[in-house]
Symmetry: C2
Subunit: 556 residues, 2 copies
């Protein structure tokens, strides 16, 4: 390795988070080598109507394709692996992932018929992967999915530690704890930079262990007078295991409904991530033959997703399961911000049918998978980094995490609160944000992809609030003159049938305005501007609203 290479700084570039910096993709570079950490999707926000999912924009990486050595995966959640089928189309590089993530990715790539040609490799905690001048070392962390890892990147400038999503659970369901020994050792040897999960940096204290949920589920399933329905995330494999444990203990059988959860549970059982005595997990039809007090049903729908099993059941629209007297429903997940209303409606509808519903606001049936403030301080003090960058969080969470870092003694000038696209360059001597690169998002909507500047989304927001009015203006094909009164078609604006006189008056006004110049042919741009002006003013005065007005020329 040449001196100039080893002297080149480390570059850190968060590339995709939709407000949560670096959540879904990050690049770490040294010399000519780039390694990418995670490639996840993001779920669209309320102001993106009709958008199905959001991908990180890989422009930056595509432009440096030949330098990208690998994609390293921290764990198998969608927001960390879900973009791989799209990203691998442009970047055909090896993917290194812990066992469960590897298995989940394989299922995903098969679904997308895009497995062929990709190099998907399993890593175990402790494994090291050489990627040019960077050596990646995976280490075990706890999170709400088994086999979660953090990554230590050994570079000629020093060690960069990326925690992935983590919490410090001293009693995890699978017994696999945060590797504090290795982190302490790295800290002792000297760490250049820590990149650490900020999702719960605003939360004081410690995040409870998954074990408290196990105890709560055991009591609920043991005490329930009838059937127990449990809704959670399809990927929350540890929770499925806890439910199965409680069911076995209380002599109940378990069925799983909903395709994504059925697929995940099958894979997890085949590969040993979920352990259950033979005959415990039954098809839903066989389960139904047992008395209610011997039944547990697991399903998705903890976020109130309209097509999920739980929501169909709540709306009396599920083919196989309907609420019966004595049912207990457990919603074993917290609502992601933005989903609260849908979750609340689902609970209300289940209550209306007589089900008892337990959810995290009223019972300890869920804990999340992210470190709270005391755990974050533990991580900072174990690793003792020279520089600190809070990641995986909205801006205020990063700010809160930065405050924790200052509190444990890291100097303010060594802490960098970045935004997606910021390029941080660092050596043991100096660190600075040196440039800002393109790090937008791609919106996937049905089968198409849009970039974030798309007018389609802007139009939808206007349509949602105001509706539209299309005005048909007949023009004489030969003279270009306006003929007859315009016609109007609208939707989402007014109940037209109840307002015919308003529509008539509006069209008469437009016609009158256009008639003034009717002796000579008019430019369409002039006509359409006039139509917009006249209608916008009239309709706003009459209705207080500003629908989208679209004049259309009809040459006759």
């Amino acid at each position: 390795m040449s001196t100039s290479l080893s002297n080149s700084p480390v570059r850190v570039v968060p590339l995709g988070g939709l407000g949560e910096v670096g959540k879904n993709m990050m690049a770490v570079e040294h010399g000519s080598d780039i390694v990418v950490i995670d490639a996840g999707i993001l779920f669209p926000k309320e102001d993106m109507p009709g958008v199905d999912l959001v991908l990180p924009d890989t422009t930056y990486l595509r432009e440096r394709k030949e330098r990208v050595r690998a994609i390293l995966i921290t764990h198998g959640h969608e927001d960390h692996v879900g973009a791989l089928p799209y990203v691998l189309r442009d970047l055909n590089v090896p993917v290194y992932a812990p066992p469960l993530a590897r298995d989940l990715i394989r299922v995903k790539l098969q679904e997308h018929h895009s497995l062929r040609g990709h190099q998907l490799r399993e890593v175990q905690p402790g494994d090291r992967v050489e990627l040019g001048s960077i050596t990646a070392e995976f280490f075990q962390v706890c999170h709400s999915i088994p086999d979660a890892c953090g990554i230590a990147l050994h570079t000629p400038q020093g060690v960069v530690i990326h925690t992935g999503d983590f919490k410090i659970d001293h009693t995890p369901v699978d017994g696999k704890k945060l590797d504090m020994q290795r982190l302490a050792e790295l800290g002792q040897e000297g760490v250049l930079l820590l990149l650490s999960d900020s999702t719960y940096a605003e939360e004081a204290g410690y995040t409870p262990s998954e074990q408290v949920v196990g105890t709560a589920l055991d009591h609920v399933i043991g005490d329930a007078p009838g059937r127990v329905l449990v809704a959670t995330f399809a990927s929350l494999i540890a929770r499925v295991q806890q439910v199965i444990n409680a069911a076995v203990k209380h002599d109940r059988k378990v069925a799983v409904v909903g395709r994504s959860m059925v697929d995940n549970v099958r894979m997890a059982m085949e590969n040993g991530y979920i352990k259950a005595p033979s005959g415990t997990v039954l098809p839903i039809k066989e389960l139904g033959a047992l008395p209610p007090e011997r039944q547990v049903v697991m399903m998705t729908g903890s976020q109130g997703e309209p097509t999920s099993a739980l929501v169909r059941i709540a709306n009396r629209g599920h083919r196989e399961v309907s609420i019966q007297e004595g049912d207990t429903v457990v919603i074993s997940a917290t609502a992601i911000p933005g989903n609260e209303t849908m979750v609340h409606r689902t609970i209300d509808n289940l209550n209306r049918q007589g089900a008892r519903v337990l959810h995290p606001r009223i019972a300890l049936v869920h804990v999340h998978g992210h470190a709270s403030q005391e755990e974050l301080k533990t991580m900072l003090n174990l690793v003792k980094p020279q520089y600190f960058v809070p990641i995986h969080g909205e801006y205020r969470m990063l700010v809160a995490h930065a405050a924790l870092a200052r509190a444990v003694g890291i100097r303010a000038e060594d802490i960098f609160v970045l935004e997606d696209g910021d390029v941080l360059e660092l050596t043991p001597d100096a660190a600075a944000v040196v440039e800002h690169v393109e790090a937008g998002h791609i919106y996937v909507d049905g089968l198409r992809q849009y970039d974030m500047r798309s007018v389609v989304l802007r139009d939808r927001r206007v349509l949602a609030r105001e509706g539209f009015v299309v005005v048909l203006v007949r023009l004489d094909r030969s003279t270009g003159r306006v003929m007859e009164e315009p016609e109007m078609v609208s939707s989402g604006f007014i109940d037209k049938d109840t307002q015919p006189e308003m529509v008539e008056e509006a069209m008469a006004m437009v016609h009158q305005e256009l008639d003034r110049g009717a002796n000579q042919p008019m430019e369409w741009t002039y006509i359409s501007t006039k139509v917009r002006e006249v209608l916008a003013t009239y309709l706003h005065r009459k209705t207080g609203r500003r629908p989208m007005v679209i004049p259309v020329p009809v040459e006759v």
Copy 2:
């Protein structure tokens, strides 16, 4: 009073809540007398795009107009008084309200130019109002606005107690506590029915006193290195008082920005609800002349409302205030479900400009105004009602409150979880839901009002997700035959400029389909059905989406 009259049952009818039963309006009836409790507005939910506000539908009351004796107001919050300007148009009856509510209503009716002819009367806690066979007695409660009352309705069948919104604050800011003595006395004499606030029935324990917020604000304002900006609800008069108290103590002056808050604070100071040494509250221009560490600015925007002062400041768009180094922003309110994302963005944007932001998730700068479980049980045990109806809550909260009532010893068959429009009839001998009446909502959208079955809202939801396609089909005026290829106008669907070949292909397909029958004239209904079918299938296959397709005939 005839025997038959005094034998007639009491009827209780929750009339407006948008999911929160009886929150905004309730009717209590005996014989020929109807009294209405509260007349509030509701804020539209996410699935009501473009709706500005929602009113209770007063059809039931209008049909029984001559029997309505009065509207009784429990307190001055918008969701309890905001519909009065609309409701009084149809029901010109006396309105009885505690002093602050009376003053807020007066301001509101003046804004609507509808004060004339209305009978707005002040009541004090302890006052009794005779309304035919019903006597209303107001009693003091604590809530997040001064002068909040509950109402005991004395009827020939017994006493009906309506708590209004309440909490049990033993150390309220204004010193006015829940009148436990009177409630205990009524309980001792015997209460037929308790209607009690369920907003926080899912919350274990006690709601903290407003005093803890006072202490927190005192520390924040005392310790802040520079200016302090405090955002809260315009109606949260007690909070304004706490901020003024802390400002006075720490030798700061206070300015208020934003019209609604300026108006409310002026009225509250004029009428003595807010007390401040002369010269404490200054115009914002004068405040700016002081050093930052002597400034406090109060404003709205705690819900991230786009036009509020705080959000304008966060977006660098306020005329008078911009964030400067050393600013502390206090968001002294919790986000109402559905507003979280907007509040979070506001905090992020304030952080980006370098402000320190304190909000209820990280500091004790807000407590809400509703009783938690231990307080609700206290109310139940003070009043010892024969029957119990949980009100002011979404269905799951009512269910949780019902469980508390059972826990303190009320029989399950004496507890009624109602929905808006349910009519509960009761005497000391029996109680039952006897009918369900119309109790919908009116959506106010700009200057118009819609009922809840309006297709306008349904259309907007489709437009928001999918956009629309208008297809112009030219028909020969004389023969009715289709002429030329149709044209298409769309918005919110695809970037048309980038997809011209798709539009062309779609129009060609539609034309081809219509051409088959082109030798004879076709019915428009046939044509429009065909156009919809062909396009819906084609566009879904090509884009995965289902835009609204609107065929329009153009006769030429």
